[in-house]
Symmetry: C2
């Protein structure tokens, strides 16, 4: 039976006119082979958004955010037109839609707006008339009719939101990798393509550093139950990852992936009075400063005082330390310090819900290699450990060997 699908092409997939023509050909072939109805969402050509931001900053030091969005949104407007032209040239009826024409409503947070609603009547009408709507990703319209942008990665969110509004059967995210891998294939040759992953796992993986999909697009797909696929524009036959509901997973591997990130720093407050008021004073001050806290641990409790460590984004670490240092006298703590030489390694898998022993095996594997574990945090489907950044990535990735490569049969679906 003929389906309705959304296909989204990212910046590198539409990086020049040759690539745009190639992407258009993928859409045309899909339609000819399947008879499916297709809606397309595109990003700006790679580099274009940065070029426009640089142009604005060369004009004034602090561009007005409304005007910046007005300007930056032209990037996708060029791509939708080129994509529609390329489709027409292949004999596929197509029509481009700005966010305003596609009626994508957002809040008024310029440069980082969130989609509130899509009135899909315009794009639905096009589809009913046999026309492929080509929708500008990354942008919307606020209630004043002003153009907003969703922030980096926003085109994925547009694609899933359009798929949800159209009640599409699937949303395909075409990118420059073959899908989601069990770990970073650039540092770990044994990384394997994941055929299926649950939304929850993908969220853990996305937030933890697998930069394939924007977490909000995964939330949207989960909330509206849109099957979401990630595949390569350049080798679309050479792999695909489906992000599906947990109950639809064909198998539930204990560990699906191992991720790492090196963009955090650890702040420690020494000998803080061990009472709830002191703790809340620290984290309230940081929340007011809009500093996002990731892991938190408490160590060295002596009945009266304790050490508190937590991680923040590396780029926020200097600001965080100065806020904390200012509090030290009031709190009657001993002092505060910052360690930027850390990395976070996480093991993610929906099967952990049903299997015990993953944590102990992880700690054992790291201990065997003599890697010091500085902090630990866990969720139902994730274990994260903080280790010194100097530990080479390949050694950290022995967790990948332990859990993914050895434990599972190959899950390469297509290759």
């Amino acid at each position: 039976m003929s389906k309705l699908v959304v296909k989204k092409f990212g910046g590198t997939s539409v990086g020049d006119v040759t690539r745009i023509r190639k992407a258009a050909l993928l859409v045309a072939s899909h339609i000819r082979k399947t008879g499916d109805r297709v809606a397309v969402v595109v990003s700006a050509m790679s580099g274009e958004t940065n070029r426009l931001i640089a142009l604005a900053k060369s004009c004034v030091p602090n561009p007005n955010p409304r005007e910046l969005d007005m300007m930056v949104s032209t990037g996708e407007q060029v791509t939708i037109a080129l994509m529609a032209m390329a489709l027409e040239d292949l004999g596929v009826k197509a029509k481009s839609f700005t966010a305003q024409q596609a009626r994508i409503s957002t809040d008024r947070n310029f440069t980082k707006a969130q989609i509130k609603e899509i009135d899909s009547s315009n794009i639905k009408r096009a589809i009913e008339e046999g026309i492929v709507p080509v929708v500008a990703g990354f942008q919307g319209i606020d209630e004043d009719g002003d153009i907003t942008t969703l922030g980096r990665g926003g085109s994925d969110i547009t694609a899933v939101a359009v798929a949800a509004a159209l009640k599409a059967d699937a949303c395909y995210i075409y990118t420059d990798v073959r899908g989601v891998f069990s770990t970073d294939p650039r540092v770990c040759p044994s990384a394997r393509l994941i055929a299926q992953v649950s939304h929850e796992e993908m969220l853990e993986m996305a937030s933890l550093g697998a930069k394939v999909l924007h977490p909000r697009s995964v939330y949207f797909a989960m909330a509206y139950n849109i099957p979401l696929a990630v595949l390569s524009t350049f080798d679309p036959e050479d792999g695909i990852t489906w992000i599906v509901r947990e109950e639809e997973l064909m198998e539930k591997p204990i560990v699906t992936g191992v991720t790492y990130r090196t963009d955090e720093a650890k702040i420690t407050i020494q000998k803080l009075p061990a009472d709830p008021a002191s703790l809340s004073q620290v984290f309230k001050a940081l929340a007011e400063a809009n500093i996002f806290i990731d892991m938190i641990t408490q160590t060295g409790f002596d009945g009266r005082k304790t050490d508190i460590s937590f991680t923040v984004l590396d780029e926020e670490s200097a600001r965080t330390l100065s806020i904390v240092n200012a509090l030290v006298p009031t709190l009657r703590a001993e002092g505060a310090s910052c360690d930027r030489n850390i990395a976070k390694v996480s093991v993610v898998g929906v099967g952990m819900k049903y299997h015990t022993g993953v944590a102990s095996r992880a700690f054992e594997a790291l201990a065997k290699e003599g890697i010091e574990i500085q902090m630990i945090s866990t969720s139902e489907i994730k274990i994260s450990v903080l280790v010194p950044r100097k530990c080479s990535l390949s050694r950290l990735l022995l967790l990948h060997e332990t859990f993914v490569t050895e434990a599972q049969p190959s899950v390469e679906a297509v290759a």
Copy 2:
């Protein structure tokens, strides 16, 4: 008393961010000096429209016109944002408006649309709130909500139409010349800046090759009685030309300007039967082929047959000749030929309405120099003669000497 004025900056006036800042400074100074309320209209940065068209054509050989307009309209969208940023940076409250936001309605002729109406409520509200609206020139929205463009020179039309919708006191067109000259100052050093010119004269000058203003913008200014000024962004104090109603002219020189154009060709049909049916057959065929005819003359009438000559745009001459040649047998004419080696020189002046003898003085001046006159056409305020293109421009421009330099006191208003 404080006024409401529209200021329009063309492509070279906003050619880079330095120039945009300079244009913004002109607006800010005007507001500070006069307390006037100002609306701004801008073109795309010079070269940008051509870059976008080239990008489209590198993607597909014949871009869909709707998609081409979608794409090309981003040029002005970038400039309005930069101009609004630059004004804000100078402490002037400003807000950019796309054609859609400024509610500029056009017909559906993509790439050459005509403005039908402007609902100025949005920009009026901004002005009432003390905000300078910065409106995208050159573009509009058709009744389907599709983005259209007005064709080259369209930003002037937008500016005058916005001025008309706002019932503005004046519309200033900032460009890269100091105003309208009595002839081309690049070829005629004695060309003088015209302080005042009537709409009718300006229309004759604009259509005949003085490329300063788009004729339709002059029509709009005339129809809505908007005083229109042309001046330089780079030397705004160094000259200005006002285009006003004839009755408002402070003086009515016999000849205001001398213009020339070399982009036409002359087609001649030899020995056409001299009856209205034959003539109408020729011009009907050309009208159906969308070929615009300029001058027409009939010579060598012998009672039965006659030669007919007319001029068309040089770029249409080959197509015109082949249409005419195809008709020659049916018409029982002797043949047809094309002469591309022609130039048209025109003498324009509202004073001709009240003074005789301009034509004879013009012919006499040309005859004295031995320049052959091939065709003549006249209107109430214009005399055009067709001469061989090889006659150097400077010799043709002796008409300028005859009528403008010698006959009039200097009309340099500001300099």
